[in-house]
């Protein structure tokens, strides 16, 4: 089988590697530039000092952080957004055609009637594609973690998009996308419909899990602040430098926290996200920054489990194709 797999996929592998190298040619210099800029502004040192002195870095390094944000943050996100689609692209071009193209062109009737059972054929192909997906996603997941490290200083890496692009979750997403593609092929028997199903299914599941499941991996924590917060009017999610006083209850805010909800309440505990006239205190629920890696591992586990389930279903559906 190994000869056949190599011969069938060598062009695809080459194209993928070339694409990866091209993207690296853009990302590595820009990553180096961001790291250099942060170093020039003295950001890493400043933040280290602030943490050592147990003071909030945002208050101390404020001007440097502001300058760094202006220069790099928005451009960076535009360039990196592409990588949000990387798992989907791999699922579409490596996963969906795996079975669908063979059935669409009828070559499954050639290759399954030689001497190799269709189970063995499928396992070998899935293993190959799975390994390719694993390696590529590990490379760009960890590469993006490096690339985004300075940006993580200015805004939470725990928020949407930022969480999805770095760390180990890209591995889970990629394996899931590939498994979905392979399954779609055993279900729909033609490449384009399988791609469409993969696209729709991937987006639906990703959005559902990110919006509904991710906030609940561990019980959120709450904290309150007496009095008013400067920069109250800033929009949620926009990376901005907010100097914060200590909370009256709960853990102090860190840059890496994930804000889930915030309400401005009156003395009776009623309120919403509008600033009321009889404002008494601010109430927030959040996931602490320290939970970033545990959440990464949990979400990766969820998607890997889904991937394995889809691979198993695909193998079962394969038995009925003629």
């Amino acid at each position: 089988m190994s000869w056949l797999i190599w011969r069938q996929h060598r062009k695809q592998l080459l194209v993928t590697l070339v694409g990866l190298v091209a993207l690296a040619a853009i990302m590595v210099p820009s990553g180096l530039a961001i790291h250099r800029a942060a170093a020039e502004l003295g950001l890493p040192d400043c933040i280290r000092q602030a943490n050592a002195a147990a003071t909030n870095p945002h208050m101390i390094c404020e001007s440097a952080l502001e300058r760094f944000s202006e220069q790099h943050v928005s451009g960076a996100f535009f360039g990196v957004l592409l990588f949000v689609f990387a798992p989907l692209l791999i699922g579409l071009f490596w996963g969906a055609p795996l079975v669908a193209r063979e059935v669409e062109q009828g070559t499954h009737r050639l290759v399954w009637t030689q001497g190799v059972s269709r189970q063995r054929w499928a396992l070998a192909k899935i293993a190959f594609v799975g390994v390719v997906a694993l390696v590529i996603s590990a490379v760009y997941g960890l590469g993006l973690s490096w690339w985004m490290a300075p940006l993580n200083l200015t805004g939470s890496r725990f928020g949407y998009v930022s969480f999805d692009m770095q760390g180990v979750v890209p591995i889970g997403y990629t394996l899931f996308a590939v498994a979905l593609g392979v399954f779609a092929g055993t279900f729909l028997h033609r490449v384009l419909p399988a791609m469409a199903l993969t696209l729709g299914g991937f987006i639906a599941v990703r959005v559902a899990i990110a919006a509904l499941a991710r906030p609940r991996y561990m019980t959120a924590q709450a904290r309150t602040y007496q009095g008013s917060l400067p920069n109250e009017g800033s929009a949620e999610g926009e990376p901005s430098v907010i100097p914060t006083p200590s909370p009256s209850s709960g853990q102090a805010r860190e840059v890496g926290d994930w804000m889930l909800a915030r309400e401005f309440r009156d003395a009776n505990g009623m309120g919403n996200d509008n600033f009321p006239d009889d404002y008494a205190y601010t109430w927030e629920i959040f996931q602490p920054a320290s939970r970033f890696w545990p959440f990464q591992v949990i979400e990766t586990g969820v998607f890997v489990a889904l991937a394995l389930l889809l691979f198993a279903l695909a193998l079962r559906r394969l038995r009925r194709i003629a």
């Binding site: 089988m1 000869w3 056949l4 070559t107 030689q114 059972s117």
Partner: protein
């Protein structure tokens, strides 16, 4: 005698529709058999069941005594070419031969190469660029290199020009001469059958209409012409296959089971092609329905 292919009450269903039903046949080893029938009669389904691409929904199928579904031990003994001769179009003929060597336990690469060379097929051209006839020959060579005991071919010459068709048949006959392999090929081109085949299976509407030795079939079927006769037995006639009437005359295609006992009938021999067409002919009902639908008098 060794049975290359045996089926008993074999059936396959897709949802509510039976693509093949109640199919029982026994193909002796060493025969070259033709599987004929109109489109949609179940020929492809039968071949897919025989090569183990599909599991049966009813009855059973055995190739040299073994069940072919999900059975890799019998796979080396069966060579199969599917409809429209699927091949990896970007592979060259040489690469396909290499692929065969990697995927098959028993593989005679030298035989494949020698065959393709003698047919003038270039080894290093992607097979997608070859003509239809050449692709069919490549597919056949790949089968033959397995040294199978049974060859199953699904309409291998359907889209070929007459010359390519003749060349394909020639290559097939040489294989049979050299190895004694059993062949079952489906075709809806009836004309080629008589020279190549010594066994026949006729399918119609998902059922077996006729099976048997070609020699025996030609010897026992006759065409009878006589005065108008609307049913009722005739001495010597075992089965009436098809009846045609004018106002004064009746023409019957029959299977005899003895000497003709009725002097009113004139008896003629029937060729294989006409026998097959008679068993496949079922348009009489369609005609009357269509005539009323068109508003045309019968």
């Amino acid at each position: 005698m060794d049975m290359a292919l045996e089926t008993e009450g074999l059936g396959k269903r897709y949802g509510q529709r039976w693509a093949l039903r109640d199919c029982s046949l026994r193909l002796p080893a060493g025969r070259v058999a033709a599987l004929v029938g109109p489109n949609g009669a179940g020929k492809t389904t039968l071949l897919h069941l025989a090569v183990g691409l599909l599991p049966p929904d009813a009855g059973e199928v055995r190739v040299f005594g073994a069940s072919p579904y999900a059975n890799t031990s019998i796979l080396p003994d069966i060579g199969f070419v599917a409809q429209e001769t699927p091949l990896y179009r970007d592979f060259t003929a040489a690469e396909l031969v290499t692929m065969g060597g990697r995927l098959n336990r028993r593989w005679d690469a030298a035989l494949a190469r020698e065959r393709l060379a003698s047919l003038g097929i270039p080894p290093n051209k992607p097979v997608g660029k070859l003509s239809g006839g050449q692709r069919a020959q490549v597919a056949l060579a790949l089968c033959v290199a397995k040294r199978p005991r049974l060859l199953l071919l699904d309409e291998p010459v359907a889209s070929l020009d007459p010359l390519a068709r003749r060349e394909f048949l020639q290559t097939l006959m040489v294989s049979v001469a050299d190895t004694g392999t059993t062949v079952l090929f489906s075709s809806h081109i009836v004309a080629d059958l008589e020279r190549a085949c010594d066994y026949l299976v006729v399918l119609h509407s998902a059922r077996v209409a006729l099976t048997g030795d070609v020699e025996d079939l030609v010897a026992t079927h006759r065409q009878l012409v006589g005065p108008r006769h609307d049913g009722g037995p005739i001495r010597g006639v075992g089965q009436v296959v098809r009846a045609r009437h004018t106002d004064r005359q009746t023409t019957l295609l029959v299977r005899m089971d003895g000497d003709l006992g009725d002097p009113l009938w004139t008896m003629h021999h029937v060729g294989l092609e006409d026998i097959v067409l008679a068993y496949m002919d079922d348009t009489s009902n369609d005609v009357t329905t269509a005539q009323s639908a068109w508003g045309v008098s019968a």
